[in-house]
């Protein structure tokens, strides 16, 4: 981090988040907190069937209910609102655009059938119950493997079958690899469907001003500008008349990296009625009708040498896409394909993905988006290889890692990993966990008569982050920033990133303050308001700091150079000798030559004596296009005790050793890791979107969908090494998703390690007690259920 590293009053320090005081005091504003004069409330009547023909919709009773202002169905909005956009194109993919209201057929439980607008939420709820929909139930398909069978019901009549697309990737010489292999080790694994469960559900408020012909849309979104463009397109409305504002957002995890039907419907209805229209999602709606994540099945074959060298990998993934395409639905599984060799030197690879339609909510980006799946499958595979070949899992990994000096490293999947030292994080994790001691403890437990089942799990990962070069992204992978130093010397940063809990107001302020020699309080970070901020891409894919932060860095460089030129003229000093420090501009050569930051800023605005060619004012914009992704990496270790009588898993120790390049704020990095690891605990042990065979979501609320609680967790220990990326001047990679990528396989491997002596090789996630209990029972078959110790 060439320049920033020199002056680090803030960068690299564990500075508490700037955004927290307003959040913890409850004085921040989320969409649902906003109230406009004359505001009405929208509700969506949703299909109770996973697949049904809509014979008719009778709104007569509902229309005459007190407080009802408007009701629209597909017929009413036909031609007025386009379908939900999908930004991903895969060759020969079958399209599955989602109409904003079910048209002809409903294809999953929760699909909107009618939108009702009423004067208050109570009248609204009463009226929604009066909308009468005549459904003719149609055959349902829920299981993606069954959906691929010839005799399966079809989700979309217009398509010959439910295979949405096939995608392939090949590198090296896969046939040769399998010919040269001593052993071929196969695994069949599933990565279950998850519900993102952001603390704040989705919320939308739309206002229309007829005089200005302007739509203002407040939405809990991760992508304000893309939303603006897409809303304009859906409504065929001039984009300059659409203003999207994203106020405080209570978490997204990818679920708000989308364009939803409710956003377009609220705008449409606000225009139609000429009153502001608000829609706030309930938790049950959130479970049914906000995107889900994961839901893949993998068959993998590892071609290995007896010494553990992995020569080749053949993988086939089935990805359940749900009924329709949301913004990135078809794209997400391809990230699984791209990342399927992970941090290993696997020179020969063939990956195939079959995307499948089912009568369920769409899957899309959920924290990690395709990479947690890849890492889970690969790391479970590596665990199987270690077990089969009787090699310590740590040593197996070490053997197959590329060495630090081999970076940049080109993978067989066509990526260039920027920089890494995989051995470094592995060694750190081993050391901090006292791995050898743990193994001794485990050996003793296995010998003792208590039947204690202790397990140690390892997981290594590399994550593709800082998405990404535009050439590899569906709609641009750059980011923008405008930086304005105002006449009073305060700094306003407008970023195209759209943080929603990550803490970029803090990290961006740290960088800006250090670059300009001011305090963090002198800097404000503005985001999420499309009328204020230059066009941007948004926050997802662990990109905001590495890409958005770099855009800001470059814009500040422009202003810094300008300020130094101005000061150079005033101080009669070569600008190259001047530095910004403690609100002063000082000559390195001659400290007597100095002027205040404020005076230099003032000079730019009064513009009485500017160097030749220098424009007045202090504003600069930069659109930063990254040359590559960045690749964070790490190794995690989990220690569990399994209750042999109930299958209850107690996670008792967790060590994470990660490397996300230069760390701007260790507190934020730790927060991201802790949160991500906890979400992994959810996927590994508790969470699953369970649909029955009629497509009803059985885990439809928080009383049935288990997310981890503090009482389920030990203290998670995080450590890091620092391998800066050469891709950007900050040297920073991404860390927003690392936790969910590295931790899931680690947690599962730990349980399988505990049960390995019983001969248990696989349990599908989530490792619910009953599944673990059953695996133990089946492996031991003792009458009392107490495990017999296997040899």
């Amino acid at each position: 981090m060439a320049t920033a590293a020199k002056a680090t009053k803030y960068v690299g320090k564990p500075i508490k988040r700037k955004e927290d005081p307003r959040l913890v005091q409850g004085i921040a504003h989320y969409v649902d907190d906003l109230k406009l004069v004359g505001m009405l409330h929208m509700g969506i009547v949703r299909s109770p069937y996973a697949h049904a023909r809509i014979r008719s919709i009778d709104t007569t009773k509902a229309r005459s209910a007190p407080g009802v202002v408007s009701i629209v169905t597909a017929e009413d909005v036909d031609g007025a609102i386009g379908p939900v956009p999908c930004g991903a194109m895969i060759p020969d993919m079958k399209p599955a655009p989602r109409p904003v209201l079910a048209t002809g057929e409903a294809r999953f439980v929760g699909e909107g059938v009618a939108a009702v607008v009423a004067s208050d939420p109570y009248a609204l709820q009463d009226a929604m119950e009066l909308v009468e929909v005549d459904y003719e139930p149609l055959p349902v398909v829920v299981d993606p493997e069954k959906a691929l069978r010839k005799d399966s019901p079809r989700v979309h009549d217009v398509h010959a079958d439910n295979a949405a697309y096939r995608w392939e990737l090949e590198g090296g010489d896969i046939k040769k690899a399998f010919k040269q292999a001593d052993r071929v080790i196969k695994v069949h694994l599933t990565n279950q469907r998850l519900i993102p469960v952001a603390m704040e559900g989705r919320a939308v408020l739309a206002q229309y001003d007829r005089g200005d012909n302007r739509i203002t849309l407040w939405s809990a979104s991760q992508i304000p500008h893309i939303l603006r463009t897409q809303i304009a397109a859906m409504l065929n409305f001039p984009e300059y008349g659409v203003y999207v504002i994203v106020p405080e957002v209570g978490g997204g995890f990818g679920s708000k990296l989308n364009v939803y039907s409710e956003e377009a419907l609220a705008c449409y209805l606000a225009m139609k009625i000429e009153k502001p229209v608000k829609w706030t999602e309930g938790r049950r709606e959130n479970f049914l009708a906000t995107i889900h994540g994961r839901d893949q099945i993998a068959d993998m074959e590892f071609a290995v040498k007896r010494d553990g060298t992995v020569l080749g990998l053949r993988a086939h993934f089935i990805a359940d896409l749900g009924a329709y395409f949301q913004l990135l639905t078809p794209l997400i599984p391809t990230l699984t394909g791209l990342m399927c060799v992970g941090p290993y030197k696997i020179p020969n690879v063939r990956a195939e993905i079959t995307g499948v339609f089912t009568n369920k909510m769409s899957t899309d980006a959920y924290r990690g988006a395709g990479r947690p799946e890849a890492t889970y499958f690969l790391e479970r595979g590596m665990q199987a290889v270690a077990t089969e070949l009787k090699i310590d899992p740590a040593e197996l990994r070490r053997k197959n890692f590329p060495k630090a000096k081999e970076f940049p490293y080109a993978t067989a999947t066509g990526l260039i990993y920027d920089s890494a030292n995989y051995q470094g994080t592995l060694d750190l994790a081993l050391k901090k966990s006292e791995y050898k001691k743990l193994r001794r403890e485990q050996a003793a437990a296995r010998k003792s008569k208590t039947g204690r089942l202790m397990g140690i799990g390892l997981g290594s990962y590399v994550e593709i982050c800082a998405l990404g070069p535009s050439s590899a992204m569906p709609s641009g992978g750059w980011e923008s920033a405008t930086v304005r130093i105002e006449p009073t010397g305060r700094v306003r940063v407008l970023t195209g990133s759209s943080p929603h809990g990550q803490g970029e107001e803090t990290s961006f302020s740290q960088i800006a303050a250090d670059l300009l020699g001011v305090t963090m309080d002198d800097v404000i970070i503005v985001h999420g308001d499309t009328s204020a901020v230059p066009y941007g891409i948004g926050t997802f894919g662990s990109r905001s700091l590495a890409v958005g932060g770099t855009a800001m860095y470059r814009a500040i460089e422009k202003l810094r150079d300008k300020l130094l030129k101005i000061a150079g003229l005033v101080l009669s000093e070569d600008p190259a000798n001047l530095v910004l420090r403690n609100k002063q501009i000082v000559s390195k050569r001659d400290p007597k030559k100095s002027m205040s930051f404020a005076d230099a800023v003032g000079a730019a605005y009064t513009a009485k004596a500017l160097p030749p060619g220098v424009e007045p004012g202090l504003e600069a914009t930069h659109f930063y296009e990254p040359t590559n992704f960045t690749f964070s990496f790490g190794t995690h270790i989990a220690v569990v005790d399994v209750d042999p009588e109930t299958g209850d898993v107690k996670l008792r120790k967790y060590i994470a050793a990660d490397d996300c390049g230069n760390v701007i704020n260790p507190l934020l990095v730790e927060g991201q890791l802790q949160g991500g690891i906890v979400q992994s605990v959810g996927q590994a042990y508790f969470e699953e979107a369970v649909y029955d065979d009629q497509g009803q979501l059985l885990s439809g609320e928080l009383a049935d969908y288990a997310i981890p609680r503090a009482s389920d967790l030990p203290w998670i220990e995080t450590y890091n090494t620092v391998t800066p990326t050469p891709v950007n001047p900050l040297g920073a990679k991404g860390v927003g998703e690392a936790g969910t990528i590295g931790a899931t396989p680690t947690l599962v491997n730990a349980v399988l390690d505990a049960l390995a002596p019983l001969g248990v090789r696989n349990i599908d996630m989530p490792l619910k007690r009953e599944r673990v209990w059953k695996a133990i029972r089946e492996a031991t078959a003792g009458p009392s259920g107490r495990p017999r110790r296997a040899k």
């Binding site: 109570y122 309930g282 938790r283 049950r284 009953e770 209990w773």
Partner: protein, 292 residues
Amino acid sequence: MIPAAFEYFAPKSLDEALRLVARHGDEAKLLAGGHSLLPLMKLRLSAPRYVVDIGRIRSLRSIREEGGRIVIGALATHHDVEASELLRITCPLLPETAAEIGDVQVRNRGTVGGSLAHADPAADYPAAILALDAEIVATSSSGTRVIPAAEYFVDLLTTQLRPGEILTEVRIPRTGENSGAAYRKLHQPASHFALAGAAARVTLGPGEKIESVAIGITGVAVNAYRATAAEQMLIGKKAAPKLLAEAAEKVTDGIDPLGDIHASAAYRRAAAAVYARRALEAAIARAGGKKA
């Protein structure tokens, strides 16, 4: 998450409340802590026309000793029970059970009477109430009835309470010397209600023989119940580990366990046995004056 319209009453005395429920009959619902009723109303699974909030009837909140028994008012909150000095000394099983319910917010609002009237199949108190041989007191405009715990729970969300009756208090007989009790619970991971919960109370006689034993099981079947087959196996015998395990295997004898996405019937059966054994072990240790 918006309830249907209802009319709200907040009587200040039991008499006034009884008059209201007598007048509105089936159309009225009592509201205590609201932590079971309001979620149902918000989902519109329950839509009473009248809601009679009994939360202001102070007299129903006390926990006291009376005539050699412990009397717990229906409006005592889970936290009141958890924190009661009197209960800690005379009936520690109840504070131990209360501490397992929900989270702090739930324990601050939810009430003993509400939990027992609602009779969720996975609620925690029912196991303890059964193991303690408690009595449930129901009051209506026509008088007061005492229902033994063993007869109180009838079916899914169904008890012996009749329309027009208010559960006013729970009476708990004092246990003798050499007694111990314990509650052990396997949480359902999402709701943290009991997937299988077992409360055991044991009195040891001469020679460490089990003089009396009561086991209440919750979370396993449509309603909480006494595991009588297991109890009978234990009476009069010395509490050997093997016997406890064998008896615990019997706690689901004659029971048709529930199955859902969290656990199959077979798993509930197995978990009930494990948790019943653990509760018995702890109760016996405590009866013998040991910590458990």
